[in-house]
Structure formats: C-alpha cells, structure tokens
C-alpha cells in the first residue's frame, strides 16, 4: 500500500447563513485555502472526492455534477460519497484509498453543508413508509440514548453541561468556529431551554453553513510539500443495522469494532496513553463521555469521570475537541471531515491557538445515522 499524507487543509468561516456565497462559492473558499496551504493549484489535482449529507438539505440532486466546474474537476474523476453523518470522515477515507491504491498522486477531498437552504431538523425527521415515525430531529432520536447512558454509568446530570462549556470555550480559540460564546458557564447551560430531556439548548450543536477541504497525496508529493504533512496511520469504516434487537445503541458495536481496527492499523495498543489528542463527533454534549467509552479510551462507565476531572480539556491529559468540535460548528456533511482535518492540523502543529502542545498522534472520528455508521482515522507527525 502507498503511504498517504495530508498536505493541505482549508475550511470556510462557518456561520448560520453564508448568504454571501453560492454553494460552489462555499466549496471554493475551503478548496482554495487547502490548495494554498499545499502550495498547489486546481490543475495539480488528479481527482476530487466530495461528501455531503442528504441532497435534500440544499435541494440539489447529486451536486457533484453542478460542482464539477467550480472544483476544477473537468477532465478528472469526481466521486460523491454519502454515508449519513459519518460522511465527512468516509469521504476522507475514500480519497485516502485512491492514494493508498496508487491510482492517484494528489486528491482533493471536500465536504460541505449549506444548512440555511432548508430546515435540517425536519429533514432529519423522515416519515418512512411502513415504519413508525420515531423522531423529531436528531435530538429526539439521541436523547433516550443519553438517558440510558446516564442510568448505566450512574452519571450526574451536570456532566453534559461541562462538555458544553469546555467545547464552547475551545471554539473561542478557533478562528473558523460558528459559535463564539466566551461568556458561557455552567449556570448559562443549566438555564438554557430544555429541548429533549436531558439535552438543553446549549448542549446542542448549531446548524451551520460551511465546508472543509483537504489535499491528500502520496509520499512523493508529500516530500515536496511546503509545510509538515500529517501521515495517515490507519482508517476504518463500520456500519450496523437500524432495526436489530441485538444492537446496543448506547455503546454501538460498529464503533467498538471500527476503533479496534484503526488502532490495530496504527499499531496503537493503549489509545488513552498513545493518542495525544482526539477530535470526535459530539453533536450533543453527552456524547463526549459516551464515545470515550465506546472508543476504548477508558473503562466502561468511566467516561463521565474523565470529563469531570478535566482530562478532556485543552491542557488536560487527553484533550478532546480542542477546535470546539461539532458543538461549535455543524455543517452536517462537513462535520465529520472537520474532525479528520482538525486531527491532521494538530499533528502538523498548525492548529494555532487551540494547538495541543507536542501533538504527534491524533484520532479523527465521525458517526452518523442512528449511531450506526462510523468512520475514523489516525494521523501522525511521522510517516507510518
């Protein structure tokens, strides 16, 4: 297998509404920044892989066709990935496979969502023929899982609020972040309206317009990159069913298996110690402790204790989401790739104010559907 490196990363200013740019303009903003970082131009790119969540969010069917022009894809290969909320991560992995397989030397991977074009909450509440309508928005689906976690782990009610505060304060350090809430504190989260018990408004991610792009290359192109590359040490995807009585949606087996696979590829045997930082997909604050356990970063039932002890804070022993994460910025289709890209920024030492000192090995994580689709990668400062 060819080695794969990330040599360029770019993202948009994320906001609730980017009315200053078209869909194509939004993607180009991210793409141009990634190319600038890599000191490459569109003509240097061999293939383009784009990912976004359902086409209905923007009302454009198979948008790769329309976007081909703006992304300089004419005469090249363009692929469109859609794996629900994990799509940003899956898109990066599909792009990395083109490099690993030795088919292309330089691939531009992009993920986006322009959620202001529609109402994401109701787009995420589909009425499926012959099935009961289970949800009112993603929060309606996930709140019962959070309650189940709280009972199992005997977790106190304020844990989620701690994550909400921590990630928002991290987001203040991230120049691209959608939400900037420097004044946030525990009392503010506790006072915010209850949306889906126990998830309060400030425990919830925003709805954002945004895009992210990465330039992935083989070792030859990485050797010529102007800045330090992030090397891909492993990547994995896992999916499990919607309707299956044997599922544990609080601690999904797909997540456990995916993490084991990616750790094995990267030669990681003790992830808690070996990983310097992790960017994980936390759309509702409680998912930080839940995923800590699912990812094997602590024993079952201990996730909330890490959060409470400040282990996951920037400056803690294992910082989680120093960028501010999905709780600060959530263009759904891009949210997964933002995790992958932020992990890469950390090991390149290019994360700016939210840089984790000396980060050399980082996990990027995304999930989607009803906690059933997972994609993850591990990136490092050194080649594998």
């Amino acid at each position: 297998m060819e080695r794969c490196a990330v040599i360029g990363i770019g993202q948009t200013q994320h906001r609730a509404r980017r009315e200053d740019v078209s869909l194509a303009g939004l993607l180009r903003e991210a793409a141009e920044r990634a190319l600038q970082d890599a000191e490459l131009r569109f003509r240097d790119i061999d293939a383009v892989v784009i990912g976004t969540a359902p086409d209905m969010f923007e009302g454009v069917m198979m948008p790769e066709l329309y976007l081909a022009d703006a992304l300089g894809a004419a005469g090249k290969a363009i692929t469109r990935v859609h794996t629900a909320g994990s799509v940003g991560g899956s898109t990066a992995l599909v792009a990395s496979h083109l490099i690993h397989a030795g088919i292309h030397s330089k691939v531009l991977a992009l993920a986006f969502e322009k959620q202001s074009e529609s109402n994401a909450m109701w787009a995420l509440s589909p009425v499926i023929p012959f099935q009961p309508q289970l949800t009112a928005g993603a929060g309606g689906y996930f709140a019962p899982l959070v309650r189940a976690y709280m009972r199992r782990a005997n977790a106190p009610r304020h844990i989620g609020h701690l994550v909400a505060v921590k990630d928002r304060l991290n987001g203040v350090k991230n120049p691209y972040s959608h939400l900037k809430l420097p004044e946030i504190d525990l009392a503010a989260v506790e006072a915010s309206p209850m949306l889906w018990d126990p998830i309060r408004q400030l425990d919830t991610c925003p709805s954002s317009d945004g895009a992210v792009a990465m330039v992935l290359t083989d070792a030859g192109a990485a050797a010529r990159s102007p800045h330090r590359p992030a090397w891909v040490h492993g990547g994995a995807m896992r999916s499990e069913p919607v309707m299956f009585a044997g599922r544990d949606q609080v601690n999904p087996r797909a997540g456990i298996d995916c993490a084991k696979d990616v750790y094995a590829q990267a030669g990681v045997t003790d992830p808690r110690r070996e990983l310097d930082v992790a960017e994980i997909y936390v759309p509702f604050s409680w998912f930080e402790p839940m995923w800590l356990e699912n990812l094997g970063l602590c024993p079952m039932g201990d996730g909330w204790k890490l959060t409470e002890a400040g282990v996951t804070a920037l400056g803690g022993e294992l910082p989680i989401n120093p960028s501010g994460g999905v709780l600060c910025t959530n263009p759904i289709g891009a949210s997964g790739m933002l995790r992958f890209a932020e992990a890469a920024l950390q090991v390149r030492g290019m994360a700016g104010e939210h840089q984790v000192d000396g980060a050399r090995l980082a996990l990027g994580h995304a999930y989607g559907g009803g906690s059933q689709f997972f994609s993850m990668w591990i990136v490092g400062s050194d080649p594998p």
């Binding site: 297998m1 078209s22 969540a53 359902p54 086409d55 209905m56 969010f57 923007e58 009302g59 454009v60 069917m61 198979m62 790769e64 066709l65 329309y66 976007l67 081909a68 022009d69 894809a73 004419a74 005469g75 090249k76 290969a77 363009i78 692929t79 469109r80 990935v81 859609h82 794996t83 629900a84 899956s90 599909v94 496979h97 690993h100 397989a101 030795g102 088919i103 787009a123 589909p126 499926i128 023929p129 012959f130 994995a236 995807m237 896992r238 999916s239 499990e240 069913p241 919607v242 309707m243 299956f244 044997g246 999904p252 087996r253 797909a254 298996d257 995916c258 559907g369 059933q372 997972f374």
Partner: protein
C-alpha cells in the same frame, strides 16, 4: 500495474415500469443473495461493501440506510455508499480492493424511478442558480444534444431508429428487459416527436430495479474468470454551453485510461439512455461494426436510475462468462447529456 479483480457474481431484478410492492430492502435483498450465491460466497466472506442510490428518487433522506438493513449487517461491516449510479460504487470497491488488504467486495444499486415525475426530478440535478429555475427536463436536454448531432451531420434520425429497433429485438432475449415490443424502422419513424427531434423510441423507459455484483481478487492458475483489466471515470463541465455536445470527451478520456484501445473488443454494454447517445459513444469508443453493442437491449430496454450503469458491467461480465466473447467494454453515465462517464474493460483470462 493494477491488481486484477474478477467479477464473480451478478444478479438483477426484472425491470418494471412501477414496482409498488417493494421498498428499498426488498429490492436489494434478492439480488444480493443471488449474486453471492453465484459467487459461492456468503455475506460474512465479504471484505468491503459499497452501494449506489439516490435519495431524490425515493423522495426522502437516507433511503440507503433502510436498504442496508436488508443485508443484516451484523457483526458490523466495512461499508460505504455513493449517491451515484452503482457503477461508481463498483469503482470505489475496485479501488478498495487495489489497496490489497481485502480480497472480496459486494456492490449493489437500487432505484425506483417511478415514484415521482422523473423528468422533473432529474431537473433538480442542474445548476441551482442559473439552470434549474428554468426547469429544463432531462428529455429536452437530450433533445438539444440530438439536435446538435443531427445538425453536425454526425447522425441521422433513421440511424437513431435503427438503434431502437435493434435494442428492442435484442431485449426479447433478455428476461429482465422492460421494453420488448418490436417494430421496424419505418414504423418507428412514422411516430410523432416526443420532444423534437426525439421520438418515444429514442428515449429510455422509466424503470424500477436493482442489481448486485460480487468482486474478488483474481486467482492465479488456470481458472477461467472474467477480470476487470481497466476502469476509469471522468467528468465534463456541467454548463452545457461549455461543452461540445456532439462529442463525449470524458468517455474518450476514461476509455484511454482504461485501455480500451489497446486490443480488439468483442462486445460493449453502453449506458446510452437515448438512441443518439449510443451512436456518439460508439464513435468515441472507436467501436467497429463487428462489435456487438448492447446485446441486453441496453438502457433503451430498461433504465432503472442509479442501477442501469452497474447493470452494464454485470451484463458484460455475464456474457463473457457465457462465452459470448473474450473482451468487453462496459460503460456508465451520469448527468445531463453524458456529463460524466465511466468505462470498464473486462477480459476472460
């Protein structure tokens, strides 16, 4: 040098105008089971799975999620999805197999083109700011291309009718085809225009369907197998004014990279939903008169959206496996007027 990948299973549903009984999972499960059975594999043997479908056809988000349940993905599996024709899912699976760490892949696609007004639905593919508001439907855009070809003297309406007549004749031998009513060329040319210069016979039917393909790393030794020796896809600008509609540059580019022109071709399964597009593709692929084109009847006989491209690969592989030739081309297209094209070369080894 790419790793040779064999096509070891292919199954499709009979294509119909409207399948009211089946939802996603029920479309997918029978073809997946049949393709695996043909490959003598079970789901547990599969290293990577990839599917193609479109939410817009089903009219709701995440329709592929329901389809996945039909595979009973437990324990969880390594799986991905493209919002594209299944031919591109096969490409992703082929790339995944090139990485060398997995040896088997399952690819499937499903589409219910009948649920909405397909011409209006496909208009949602267009540039949302400048083109989609004008609602040019898919048949009208194809008609623009046909007109450009006729005006350039690159084809004649009679040749287009000949394509339709041959397609229907061949479809009679395809148990999965939808349009089998034969007609001679004169009869076809007597029909009124649907969207000038296209008549009904120049256009594909609206079809519901599904298909599945199983891939496995080719085995060394004397086993007779059908192997993918080259595959590539390319896209052209979306803006129709930026393209020469009498050419299919991306087909030519993909064909060159897939190695089409290196040796003689025996048969070709071309995803040409409109008659003039087959004539155009034949020229770009430099197919001589001896090459058997679309022995299945092609997309004019059945055109389930998101499926018909993958079906071309499955059909071409099946025909080689049955001894109908040694080397075949399969082609898939996406977007208005052949905007995006994939070319796959299959050989018997």
């Amino acid at each position: 040098m790419t790793r040779p990948i064999a096509v070891v299973g292919f199954a499709q549903l009979p294509n119909v105008r409207r399948d009211t009984a089946r939802e996603e999972g029920e479309l997918v499960q029978p073809v997946v089971n049949a393709a695996l059975e043909q490959a003598k594999l079970t789901r547990k043997d599969i290293g990577f799975t990839c599917s193609g479908s479109s939410d817009f056809l089903l009219g709701r988000p995440f329709s592929f999620v329901s389809a996945l349940d039909a595979l009973a993905p437990w324990p969880p599996m390594s799986e991905s999805h493209v919002e594209m024709d299944g031919a591109w899912a096969l490409y992703e699976a082929w790339v995944r197999l090139q990485c060398g760490d997995v040896d088997t892949a399952l690819v499937y696609a499903y589409g219910k083109s009948s649920l909405g007004n397909l011409r209006d639905v496909l208009a949602q593919q267009l540039d949302p700011y400048y083109l989609a508001p004008l609602v040019p439907d898919s048949v009208s855009l194809a008609a623009l291309q046909a007109r450009a070809l006729l005006d350039a003297g690159s084809c004649r309406e009679r040749e287009m009718a000949q394509v339709a007549a041959r397609s229907r004749r061949d479809a009679q031998h395809n148990p999965f085809a939808q349009v089998k009513k034969t007609a001679d060329v004169e009869q076809l040319l007597d029909a009124p225009y649907l969207v000038e210069p296209l008549r009904k016979h120049d256009c594909p039917p609206i079809s519901d369907g599904a298909c599945a393909v199983v891939l496995r790393a080719a085995r060394s030794g004397n086993d007779r197998q059908v192997v993918i020796t080259g595959i590539d896809h390319r896209v052209e600008p979306h803006a129709l004014g930026a393209r020469d509609l009498t050419r299919s540059v991306s087909t030519r580019q993909a064909a060159e990279r897939a190695g089409v022109f290196e040796r003689k071709v025996d048969l070709a399964e071309l995803h040409a939903p409109f008659t003039h597009q087959e004539l155009l593709l034949r020229r770009e692929l430099q197919l001589s008169a001896e090459v058997k084109v679309n022995p299945s009847g092609g997309a004019l006989a059945a055109n389930p959206m998101m499926v018909a491209g993958l079906t071309r690969i499955g059909e071409a592989a099946s025909r080689l496996a049955r001894g109908e030739g040694k080397r075949a081309i399969a082609h898939a297209t996406s977007g208005p007027c052949l905007q995006q094209n994939l070319v796959c070369v299959l050989e018997v080894t």
